[in-house]
Amino acid sequence: MKEKLTKVEFTNLEKILFPKLEIKKVQVIEYYIKIAPKILDFLSNRPLVLNRFPEGIAKKGFYEKDAPQGTPLWVKTKKSYLETSKRDINFVVCNDLDTLIWLANIAAIEIHIPFSKVGSREKPDMVFFDIDPEPPATYKEATSVALLLKEKLGNLGIESYVKTSGKKGLHIIVPIFPEYSFQETKTFVHKIGRQLAKEHQLVVSEFNETKKPGKVFVDYLQNSHGRTMVSPYSLRAVPEATVSTPLDWSEVEKGIKPTELNISSVVKREKDPWKKIFDNKQRLTA
């Protein structure tokens, strides 16, 4: 009898999940298998939120917090009270390759992670700046703001990390010691945003300004319990099958395009700019 490489029973491998590029589920699973050595560090011990597209991205997907019916017994789950849902949620936790493959098999194309880990839900280990351009501002403008933000944090002695959102924005992360409350990280991000907005026309820092055309919003609001960002190396449910990809700051300066970073190109990338990001935990000084 053949050796068994995975506990997962594959289903509907022929299903087309990205119709424009005719990408089948088997390719999505293959992507997650190949990216596993890079993505698992970011998923592990975090209650996940899944964005599932069983009928492909052309049909409506759904966000799923609770482990779905039929979740195999070997998939780790974690009950956790969620304020926004006002109840206990049985989250999926993905600490191993099999669980990741299983997620891909249930067409969880996007995997979203919270900023704190199981066991210390109230103490985030990441600070999150969501750089979100409002048309006609584009990715290009988001890039400029990201670089300004990097510089600003650098002046405070804080090293930051950047990834594409896979759409038009950029995500900037500062890994921190889990010593702060979400209120503190949120306040920190908001403060930095306000300073940038003061110094630069392009930037807005307040929620009610987010729809101002041509502006770039530094979103601080996600720094809350239960809020998430798309995981580094997660696929995005967009026609180009992009990947939210960790970048070197030099790549941001050169203007690398988010669509160049997709299901087929990212697995070939040698770079892993966020590798050992959690070995560089920092303290917020502002």
């Binding site: 009898m1 053949k2 089948k24 698992l40 390759l97």
Partner: protein
């Protein structure tokens, strides 16, 4: 020739009688030769693992009926039966005259195998000499004898021929039990094949002609089930394994690679 393991030899004959050709009378014992040794399962109660049994249930009131109250019925019209009890049928049972009279000799395959029902080995019953004589004569003439045999409640046409140094009896099916292929409409308008095509087909058949060895064919289902049984006995759980499709092969390649990388970490 490979000797069959002793365990496979049936212990008791199922019939005793004699084989007769003209004036030669050979007492013989009939042993079953055909077994169904495929995998077989018992039905169990899923929740407690106990075997299930069959019961005869009356269709009128769902009552379980004991054997004493069971009779045989022959359906003469829809829901209309002629009823028999055991004694009545016993009385008309064909009488076994304990004798197989071979009154005709034919080529074995003059009888098409579609009529072959079940084969039995004939063994001498304190009649080694006569048995040997008959066997040798069959072998020399390469013929099969035709006769009749009554087993339990049924009378069968039967063929006796020499097989691997023994006399083997094969009961035959009645003509009414075998479908006549020409009854199919599909065969009515078959066209004559083109000569060139026919020649090609004949050539292929000629080229691929070979010896037949039944031992080349293994019961793959049985082998797989036996492997599963072994695993279960060792306490391993079994997950249904579907045949590996092409796409899955690609995934397995990627998986091997990733597992190697993760190991290194």
């Amino acid at each position: 020739m490979e000797r069959v393991a002793k365990v496979n030899i049936p212990k008791r004959p199922i019939w005793l009688g004699s084989l007769t050709i003209g004036l030669v009378n050979v007492p013989v014992k009939l042993y079953p030769m055909i077994y169904d040794r495929g995998i077989s399962f018992r039905f169990l109660h899923k929740t407690d693992g106990h075997p299930l049994k069959y019961q005869k249930v009356c269709t009128k009131d769902q009552q379980v009926i004991p054997w004493e109250e069971v009779a045989k019925g022959y359906e003469v019209a829809k829901n209309e039966y002629v009823i028999f009890d055991k004694e009545e049928l016993e009385a008309v049972k064909p009488e076994s005259d304990k004798r197989i009279r071979l009154d005709k000799f034919v080529d074995y395959f003059a009888v098409d195998p579609v009529y072959f029902d079940r084969s039995y080995v004939l063994m001498p019953d304190k009649s080694a000499e006569a048995y040997s004589l008959l066997l040798t004569a069959f072998e020399k003439k390469d013929k099969a004898g035709v006769g009749r045999l009554t087993l339990r409640t049924k009378e069968y046409p039967a063929l006796v021929h020499a097989y691997k140094g023994a006399l083997v009896l094969t009961t035959l099916r009645y003509a009414y039990d075998v479908i006549e292929p020409q009854a199919f409409e599909e065969l009515e308008n078959l066209k004559e094949p083109e000569k060139a095509e026919l020649d090609l087909a004949i050539k292929i058949i000629t080229d691929l002609s070979g010896e037949f060895d039944i031992t080349e064919y293994k019961d793959r289902y049985k082998q797989k089930v036996q492997e599963l049984i072994k695993k279960k006995l060792k306490g391993q759980t079994i997950t249904a394994e579907k045949p590996v499709q092409e796409e899955v092969k690609g995934l397995m390649l990627a998986l091997r690679d990733t597992l190697k990388q993760l190991e290194k970490k």
